[in-house]
């Protein structure tokens, strides 16, 4: 069995168990008078069954083949992904406090740094013009209420 299949099988098994147990907190009813928990309960059980079938099917394969392939296409590639996700999460929580202009500026700066841009001049210019573009399109043209935060615009 591939290691990744084992992990994903167990993941869905746990999700199935979670929803199955959780659904029992709601009214289940019966097939003539279904309550709000009936469908999630049925789906949870179905997911458990499917995960078990999947895991068993993969376990059988292990006798036939033992596949070893790299999980990440590039060594260290996951670091770039984790970095981008972290920057996005930070931007989400600072968005309303710092305001859209500052957050967008910093978001672009950090993402471009992560994308291995060396020239600071380019990074600052790109971040500035992106923030300006967002202001022109979303605030002036589409009149979207973006959070202003620290700055007045």
């Amino acid at each position: 069995m591939k290691y990744s299949d084992l992990i994903s099988g167990i993941f869905w098994l746990v999700i199935g168990l979670l929803f199955t147990i959780w659904s029992t907190h709601y009214q289940i009813g019966n097939l003539m008078r279904p309550g709000s928990g009936l469908l999630p309960l049925g789906l949870g059980i179905l997911l458990i069954l499917l995960s078990l079938i999947f895991l068993l099917g993969q376990a059988k394969k292990s006798f036939l083949e033992n596949v070893k392939e790299p999980f990440f296409t590039k060594p260290g590639g996951w670091r770039k992904v984790a970095y981008a996700v972290l920057i996005l999460i930070l931007a989400t929580f600072t968005f309303e406090k710092l305001g859209y202009l500052l957050t967008i500026f910093l978001l672009i700066v950090f993402l471009m740094l992560g994308a291995e841009f060396k020239s600071w001049k380019r990074i600052i210019l790109a971040a500035f013009f992106t923030a300006l573009g967002i202001y022109l399109v979303f605030v002036l043209l589409l009149e979207q209420p973006l959070p202003r935060g620290l700055l007045r615009y």
Binding site: D5, F19, G35, W78, Y100, A115, L142
Partner: protein, 499 residues
């Protein structure tokens, strides 16, 4: 006569200055994202959705449809010139398109794909125009059990047509249905699985999830192993295909239109499967099948026609039954709902200007794309030279701002990020997003119809009504077929071993 007067109404609507403008913008954005790898129509339509909120409903649907079929035109450019499909519907075009470019015939390849797209696109609109009203009339006779069965059939088809394993597809579909139960119970109004969070009271939003799984998830996959683009430096000249090219491509284009349209109607087939099937059909019918993959024009004409024809086909079930046939249609359904329009059998009679206006705009849009695409290919090629590490921060930013403007809620951005990571891991673990997304969209409708059917007092009602019984049996058949073929294959292997 009704038909002609409806079409005249449609063209009157579509030719208004605003609608023409939005049709043009939609086509332009569509071509742009079609050209750019790493962002497809699902993410783009999701990003644009909040922006269309203040717009006239007809104009916004015209714009969003334009993005969809525009992307099919643009997708071919990257496949032919860079050997990277700009859009999933153009994967197969790489095989012969890129080889044609290497032989110095990039011009005719791009030309025939634009003409084929136009013919396939307009042909499928004709089909849509004829079939949607017929299907809508039939659907008026549908009750809850039929609708439920139809949705089960749709989800089963998506998992059946998955590129990977069916069991994985089924797991994703069930997971999508489970996510759709978060929020208010559509019948009793009580809340489920919300963790007392206000954001989850209305359920997990379609747009943040779609943008996460298809937008952010795709970008994260791409930044892990940055896309290397090797643009084929060739002077583009002679975009018009020669007479021999036309003679070789005319039947592939006709067949591509039919295959694309009819497969597009089938729930779950999207725009990718019709391209693979039309390519396979051409290869089988060809007098020189061994030349496929070395740069034959039929290998470009057939799939490029089929993916555009599929766009018209996939609109049939959305506009006549209210059931999205693929993920793009699921997001488009969100566009209808934002404007308080429920697609379904009554759409054509209740909102004739919307239905016929959209159809007429698609004719105009396809014409615009043909005129736009050929002269602008030079600009699209220049765009392709923009490195991905400049593009992805901008795409991420658009996703970020787009989700926020939906409800001005930062927690929806967080939902997008969570589903983005989910989408990234899903790709890594070999799961597909389409069954998940479609099931999530259909979930609430399915639950309402399921529970209303049960309220008739007979749990077997689904099997007692002919239409729902047929659809459910067919779904079961689809699920069992691969199992039977696996068992048969295993038995054969065993027999061979024993021999």
């Amino acid at each position: 006569m009704d038909f002609i007067s409806n079409l005249v109404l449609g063209f009157n609507v579509a030719f208004s200055a605003t609608n023409l403008f939005f049709c043009f913008i939609g086509c332009l954005i569509g071509t742009l994202i079609g050209v750019l790898p790493g962002i497809g129509p699902v993410a783009t339509i999701s990003i644009l959705l909040p922006g269309t909120f203040g717009m006239d409903p007809v104009a916004s649907i015209i714009l969003l449809c334009g993005v969809y079929y525009g992307a099919m035109y643009g997708g071919s450019t990257t496949s032919i010139l860079v050997n990277i499909p700009g859009e999933a519907g153009s994967i197969i075009t790489c095989l012969d398109g890129y080889q044609m470019a290497r032989k110095g015939r990039a011009g005719p390849a791009l030309g025939i794909s634009a003409f084929g797209s136009f013919i396939g696109g307009t042909g499928s609109i004709l089909g849509l125009m004829l079939m949607a009203p017929l299907l809508a009339r039939l659907a008026l006779k549908f009750g809850s059990p039929e609708y439920f069965a139809l949705m089960v059939f749709g989800i089963t088809m998506v998992t059946f047509l998955c590129m990977g394993s069916i069991i994985k597809g089924l797991m994703m579909a069930v997971a999508g249905l489970l996510i759709s139960t978060i929020g208010q119970d559509p019948i009793s109004g009580s809340t489920r699985f919300t963790l007392d969070r206000m954001t989850l009271m209305d359920g997990v939003g379609l747009v943040p999830v779609a943008m996460g799984v298809f937008g952010l998830g795709e970008i994260l996959t791409n930044i892990e192993g940055v896309i290397k683009k090797d643009i084929f430096e060739t002077k583009l000249k002679g975009l018009l295909p020669t007479l021999k090219d036309w003679a070789d491509s005319k039947w592939p284009i006709v067949r591509g239109t039919l295959i694309g349209f009819f497969l597009g109607i089938l729930p779950g087939s999207g725009t990718v499967i019709p391209t693979f099937i039309s390519y396979a059909v051409e290869k089988r019918l060809s007098r020189h099948p061994e030349k496929f993959g070395t740069g034959v024009i039929e290998g470009v004409a057939a799939p490029e026609t089929a993916n555009n024809a599929a766009t018209g086909g996939s609109l049939v079930t959305l506009l006549s039954l209210g059931i999205p046939a693929n993920v793009v249609m699921a997001v488009l359904l969100g566009g209808f709902i934002i404007h308080g329009i429920q697609p379904g059998p009554l759409l054509i009679t209740k909102h004739p200007s919307l239905f016929w206006g959209t159809i007429a705009s698609m004719y105009i849009g396809n014409g615009m794309l043909l005129v736009l695409n050929l002269p602008l290919i030079g600009i699209w090629v220049k765009l392709l030279k923009i490195p991905y590490n400049i593009l992805f921060p901008l795409i991420l930013l658009f996703c970020f701002i787009g989700v926020y403007t939906l409800n001005n809620n930062i927690y929806e951005i967080l939902i997008m990020i969570i589903f983005g990571v989910f989408g990234y891991l899903m790709r890594k673990f070999g799961f597909e997003g389409a069954p998940f997304m479609l099931a999530m969209v259909l979930g609430p409708m399915m639950e309402i119809n399921f529970r209303q059917s049960l309220l008739f007092g007979d749990p077997f009602t689904f099997f007692k009504r002919p239409i729902s019984a047929t659809l459910l049996i067919f779904s079961l058949f689809l699920l069992i077929t691969p199992l039977i073929s696996t068992i048969a294959r295993k038995r054969k292997q065993l027999e061979q071993l024993e021999d």
